[in-house]
C-alpha cells in the first residue's frame, strides 16, 4: 500500500458573514486506498485532537449518489477526474508532495454555510418552481398503459441521473445553473407524463433560476466536463428550445379553458 504526504490549502470561513481565508494543513499519511473525504476525515481527527475546529464539508452517502458532497480541488469541481463526485475520488490519483487547494462552490446563489459547505437551496427552489408532474393520486395505473419509446426513456434516464450537487454551477465561468435546470426539464419533458406541463415547466424553472441569480449559458462546456453523472450540454439546447416554444405558445391563464 502506497502512503504519501500532501499539503492542503483549505478555505476556512466561520459563517456566511465571516470573510474567510485559506489555511494550510499537512496530511502526512495518506493511503492510496482512501477516498478524498476519508483523507479529510483523518486531517479533521488531528484538528479535533489538537482542540481546533474541524474542516466543515457536506457529505452523506459517500457512494456518489446523494449529491451532498462537493467542493473545488485545484480549481476543478469534484477534483480532476471525469465522472466522479469528490466522495468517490480516490487518493491513488494524487502524488506525494502535491499541494491541493480546496475551495467551496462559488456562486452568489450558494451562500457559504461554513468552510467548504454551501447552501444549495436555490436548486431546490428551481425544482419547486416546476420540476414535477401533476397527477391525480389513486390506484396505480398499469405498467405499460403509457408507451414510452426506448430512445426517450434512455435519454430521460440520462438526465434523471442528475444528483443536484451543484458542480455545474461551481465550474461554469458564469455560475450558471443551465445544466442542472436543463437536466430536470429534460428528464420530465422527454416522457409522455411530462407533456401537459412541459411549457409551463420550462418557463417557471428558467425564471426561477434567473430569480436566484444564476448566470447565463455561454456553451463553454465546463459543466459537462465535471458533472459526476456526465450529463451532456445537449440538454441545455433542449431546454432553450422548450423555453422558446413555451414563449411562443404562452397564453394568459384565463384563455386556457372554460369551466366545463
Amino acid at each position: 500500500m502506497r502512503t504519501f504526504a500532501l499539503t492542503l490549502h483549505v478555505w476556512r470561513q466561520k459563517s456566511a458573514k465571516d470573510g474567510g481565508r485559506f489555511a494550510e494543513y499537512k496530511a502526512p499519511n495518506v493511503s492510496e486506498h482512501m477516498s478524498f473525504l476519508e483523507m479529510l476525515d483523518v486531517v479533521n481527527q488531528d484538528l479535533i485532537a489538537k482542540g481546533d475546529d474541524p474542516i466543515a464539508f457536506d457529505h452523506d452517502c459517500r457512494e456518489g449518489i446523494c449529491g451532498m458532497c462537493g467542493f473545488m480541488v485545484n480549481g476543478s469541481a469534484h477534483g480532476p477526474h471525469r465522472g466522479t463526485t469528490v466522495c468517490q475520488l480516490h487518493m491513488r490519483h494524487f502524488q506525494d508532495g502535491e499541494e491541493l487547494w480546496l475551495e467551496p462552490w462559488r456562486s452568489a446563489a450558494f451562500p457559504i454555510v461554513k468552510d467548504l459547505a454551501v447552501d444549495r437551496s436555490a436548486l431546490d427552489r428551481i425544482i419547486a418552481a416546476g420540476g414535477f408532474i401533476s397527477v391525480p393520486t389513486g390506484s396505480a395505473v398499469d405498467g405499460n398503459a403509457t408507451p414510452v419509446p426506448k430512445v426517450d426513456a434512455e435519454l430521460s434516464m440520462d438526465a434523471a441521473a442528475c444528483i443536484g450537487c451543484g458542480a455545474c454551477v461551481a465550474m461554469c465561468p458564469n455560475a450558471s445553473a443551465a445544466l442542472f435546470t436543463s437536466a430536470k426539464i429534460g428528464h420530465l419533458g422527454l416522457l409522455p407524463q411530462g407533456q401537459p406541463e412541459r411549457h409551463d415547466r420550462a418557463l417557471k424553472m428558467v425564471a426561477q433560476a434567473n430569480v436566484e441569480g444564476f448566470g447565463h449559458c455561454t456553451s463553454v462546456g465546463e459543466c459537462e466536463a465535471v458533472c459526476p453523472k456526465q450529463i451532456p450540454i445537449t440538454f441545455i439546447a433542449r431546454m432553450n428550445r422548450d423555453f422558446l416554444d413555451a414563449v411562443i405558445h404562452e397564453r394568459p391563464q384565463s384563455d386556457r379553458g372554460g369551466s366545463g
Partner: protein, 224 residues
Amino acid sequence: MSATASDTGGKFYGSTIGKKIVMAVTGAFLVLFLVGHVAGNLQILSGKEKINHYAELLHSSAGLLWGFRLALIASVVLHVKAALELYTLKNAARPIAYAKKAHRVATLASRFMIWSGYVLGAFLVFHILHFTTGQAHPSFDAHGDVFRNVTTAFQNPAVAALYVVCMGLVGLHLSHGLFSFTQSLGLSHPSYSARAKTLAKVVAFAVAAAFAAVPIAVLAGFVK
C-alpha cells in the same frame, strides 16, 4: 429569498435564455451578412472593373441599401446590448472569484467572447470610417472607386496587418459563436450535434481567411 417565478415567468427578454436567443439570431444575421460581404470582396481578385461595377450595383437602390444598413445596425445594437447585460449578470452571479480555477475543456475562443467582441465593435467603427465614409482613409475617393480605396489602403503594411489580425478575431469569435448559436436556439440532434463544433470552426476560419485574402493579395502585389 421568497421571490417566486410567477412574476418573471413568460417574459422573454427578461430571462437569460431570451437574451441569448436575441444574441444568436442577431449574430446569425451578421454572419450571413459577412458571408455575402466576403463573396463580394473577393471580386477584387478579378480586377478593378468587376469590383467597382459590383459596388455600383449595391448602391443602385438607396431604399434597399438603407433598409439593409438599418437591419445591420439594429442587429449590432441588440447583439451588443444583450452581451453587456449578460456580462453584468454573470459578474454578479459570482462576486467572489476562485483563488485557483482550472479550465477543463473551455477553449480560448469561448472564454474571450466578450473581448473578441469588444475588438470587433471597435474595428467595425474604424472600418466604416475607413472604407464607407472615408474619414480614416488618407486618400479616399468618394466617387465610388472602391478598387483604388482598397488597394491604396492595403499597400500600407500596418493597415493590412490590422485587417488580418481583426479577421483572425472574427474567426475566433465565430469559431465558438457558431456552435453556441446552435445551443442557444436548441438546434441539437444526435445526427449533427457531435459535428457542430467542428463545422463551426471550419466555417468561422474559412470566412476569416477569405476576408484576410484581400489585404494579403494587395500587399503581396497580386492586386494592383
